[in-house]
């Protein structure tokens, strides 16, 4: 039993780390092109995709669900792009209009689908990493979500590897990239595509909130520290890893331990949602970095100054 628990913790952390790293790659691109909320939009808007996939295929098979969700994700960003392009609407508002409408139609579709089978929106939308990992650990194999996240990470890494130069140019100066003859429109479609795939594959495993967090928080933390793209990738990856490990430890040992200690045994709390604490830890890391960078900017070179005064 104890061994199984350790194995469970191990795979939860591995999945968390893989998800974090896989999210960092589209995350950097989204933050630099000022579309950070796209992950949030997509994770809401996949609902009609899931419902339609179910209604059309009649099965809750993984492959159908993923296809439906990916298509819905692409549809979201395509539709909001069209609204921006032709309706001249503020991009944020366009995204909001799109994902709210899609989510609403998803709710109605699910109501009809539920005549046939129980398809709880909460279950579909907010997976939790613990329950997702349990299956594989009990069977003694690598949990599906873990290898899924690792495959996704490899996919994103190869995209980054092959298109690094183009992506750099696009994110820092899309006008220049266009003048150099790069197909900027298609490259944006590509960014959206990997964002949609990443969001869908990850949130099915670990819950949408962790995906939204890992798409933005580690990258923002890195941007506080560095201006170079390469180090931004490295730092955000490290932040993601740190948040995954500390987050899970907090969920399993930290917070329950504290609660049990301070209530002196009156309350017995088992482990909490690891997704939630991973997000919370990422947020704490970000806030700490923000405060530190603020202090450094307020008192730059404080040591140098004392040396000079001497």
């Amino acid at each position: 039993m104890d061994d199984a628990m350790n194995l469970l913790d191990f795979w939860i952390m591995v999945t968390g780390i893989a998800v974090a790293l896989a999210c960092v790659i589209p995350g950097v691109l989204l933050v630099l092109t000022r579309q950070s909320m796209l992950g949030d939009g997509i994770s809401h808007a996949v609902l009609p995709g899931l419902a339609l996939a179910f209604l059309l295929s009649g099965s809750r098979d993984m492959i159908w669900m993923l296809t439906g969700a990916c298509l819905a994700g692409l549809f979201t960003s395509g539709l909001s792009y069209l609204i921006v392009r032709f309706g001249n609407v503020d991009p944020g508002a366009a995204l909001g209009v799109t994902f709210c409408s899609l989510f609403a139609s998803g709710l109605i579709l699910i109501r009809f689908a539920s005549d046939k089978v129980d398809l709880d929106p909460n279950c579909v939308l907010y997976g939790t990493v613990e329950t997702a990992v349990v299956d594989g650990v009990i069977n003694g194999t690598i949990p599906r979500v873990a290898w899924q996240a690792i495959l996704l990470l490899l996919l994103n890494l190869s995209v980054l590897f092959f298109f690094y130069k183009e992506l750099v140019m696009l994110t820092f100066d899309s006008g220049f990239a266009k003048s150099k003859g790069y197909p900027v429109g298609w490259m944006n479609v590509g960014i959206t595509l990997i964002t949609a795939i990443t969001t869908v594959l990850c949130f099915e495993a670990v819950g949408s909130i962790l995906v939204i967090a890992f798409l933005s928080i580690p990258v923002a933390t890195a941007l506080l520290i560095s201006k170079r793209l390469v180090s931004i990738f490295w730092i955000s990856g490290l932040v993601g890893i740190a948040a995954s490990i500390t987050g899970h430890l907090m969920a399993v040992f930290g917070i329950p331990g504290m609660v049990n200690y301070f209530s002196s045994g009156a309350l017995v709390i088992r482990s909490l949602s690891s997704s939630g604490t991973m997000v919370a830890m990422a947020g704490v890391l970000f806030l700490t970095t923000l405060l530190m960078s603020r202090l450094f900017r307020l008192y730059p070179n404080s040591q140098m100054r004392t040396v000079k005064e001497d």
């Binding site: 209604l55 609204i83 503020d90 508002a93 409408s101 109605i108 609660v259 909490l272």
Partner: protein, 461 residues
């Protein structure tokens, strides 16, 4: 999936329908009142938010309520072991979303990070903390914690008189604040820098705006649900933008759209209990958005396409007339060159026409009575000659102006003039004449300042 809906419709009797429409059910009446009030309030406040380019802030604010709810519950649990007191839970929700708003402001001030990242960070961080707290609460030895989420992110169909009154009073207060700060908020939304230069406390005004959004969100969350709040703050305002550029009119339109979708949604979901009210309301608003986007009288697509089509048609005709004139100028033999005849292939070399455009322009000019035809040859009509003279004159005046005052090389001037000549106003023409000292020969066409190139292609090319 349509069949069950039709089934509902068939089962729905007329008397039942009238009961719904006349609001005879107590429950329907309350839901109706609350939803309608909230939806129009959303349209009003959302208009400011849209113009401030922060529509997604509503999404962040609504997610940021969660930890406040959790903490308020824990707090109450610690003291009373009950935990569920609606006003206090809502207070907690309000405080925590205000903290979220404050954090966004700090992130923006203390770093180079932009609005969208700050919103995504606060949204996920607060929601993550909230989820952690909820999983903690679920393990407390109290049956009360179950369904806390549903309790907070309620359903429209379960609204009571108290909820409706609460929404109504809060909406009145919010409207009052909006009215008090209307001018300042308008200035903030349209030009923040100008507002700052005028000495307005823009930070404070931003905070007031977000406070309004927070109040709207919190009252809406409990009564109507998380998704609906965000949607009703964004969609009606975005739809209204297609109809007008006047802020007060836009607010009325947004409120109207919100109101109608709110009412329609409640009626529909009362008639078809299968349909969730919140989702129907949102979809009605989306429908309004779609209609506005296509048919809007200020920024609508149809209007835009029509305008664009007319302009490009005018430009094509003017190109044609100028080409005709230039050919006549070169090859004309009669006393008045404008009376000469020309063929379609004579005109072709004077411009790089896209395929088919020349023929199209000829057809349009014939229809408009600018040219007339006989035996495969064409002639300018009186009207056409006048238009041709005017067009060529505008073009050459502008060319001369560019050469004299803008140091444009004569070889390039044709291109540059091409871009502007179609939109020259009469006053500008007068100014040009004065600047170029052409008064004495006011009606004459200046000679072209450059050699008129023709494109040599095969005759049928």
């Amino acid at each position: 999936m349509i069949t069950p809906l039709l089934g509902d419709l068939l089962l729905l009797e007329w008397s039942q329908l009238m009961r719904i429409v006349r609001l005879e059910d107590y429950n329907t009446r309350m839901v109706f009142l609350g939803t309608a009030t909230f939806s129009s309030l959303g349209g009003m406040v959302g208009t400011f938010l849209l113009l401030r380019k922060r529509s997604l802030m509503s999404d962040t604010i609504s997610h940021a309520t969660l930890p406040g709810v959790g903490i308020a519950f824990l707090f109450l649990y610690g003291f009373t072991e009950v935990g569920k007191s609606l006003p206090l839970l809502l207070l907690g929700a309000g405080i925590s979303s205000l903290l979220g708003v404050g954090l966004i402001q700090f992130v923006r001030r203390w770093s180079r990070l932009k609005d969208d990242v700050a919103m995504a960070i606060v949204l996920s961080f607060f929601f993550g903390v909230g989820i952690t707290l909820l999983t903690l609460i679920q393990q407390l030895p109290t049956g009360n914690a179950a369904g806390l989420e549903q309790f907070i992110y309620g359903k429209a169909s379960a609204m009571t008189a108290g909820d409706a009154t609460f929404i109504f009073i809060a909406a009145l207060l919010t409207t009052l604040v909006c009215g008090l700060f209307y001018k300042e908020l308008a200035l903030l939304c349209f030009d923040r820098d100008f507002a700052k230069a005028k000495g307005l406390p823009t930070e404070l005004l931003d905070f007031i705006l977000l406070l309004l959004i927070t109040v709207t969100t919190v009252i809406g969350l409990q009564a109507i649900g998380l998704l609906l709040v965000v949607a009703m703050l964004i969609i009606p305002a975005a739809a209204a933008r297609f109809w007008t550029h006047d802020l007060s009119k836009m607010m009325w339109v947004a409120m109207g759209i919100g109101l109608i979708s709110g009412m329609g949604g409640v009626f529909l979901s009362a008639a078809f209990p299968r349909l969730p009210a919140g989702a129907v309301i949102v979809l009605m608003a989306s429908l309004f958005f779609l209609i506005s986007m296509v048919f809007g009288t200020y920024r609508g697509l149809l209007l835009g396409w029509l305008k664009h089509h007319r302009l490009s048609q005018r430009i094509r005709l003017q190109h044609l007339l100028r080409a005709i004139y230039e050919w006549l100028e070169k090859h004309g033999q009669c006393g008045d060159i404008l009376d000469d005849e020309f063929g379609i292939h004579d005109i072709r070399p004077f411009r790089a026409w896209d395929s088919g455009i020349l023929e199209l322009s000829f057809r349009k000019a014939l229809k408009d009575g600018l040219i007339e035809t006989s035996k495969n040859k064409f002639r300018l009509t009186g009207n056409g000659a006048r238009e041709a003279l005017k067009t060529v004159r505008h073009h050459r005046l502008w060319e001369l102006f560019l050469i004299r005052y803008a140091d444009t090389a004569p070889g390039r001037v044709d291109r540059d003039a091409d871009a502007i000549e179609h939109v020259l106003e009469p006053e500008i023409i007068e100014d040009l004449e004065k600047a170029l000292e052409l008064e004495s020969q006011a009606k004459r066409i200046p000679t072209s300042p450059h050699f008129i190139e023709t494109i040599s292609r095969s005759a049928n090319g």
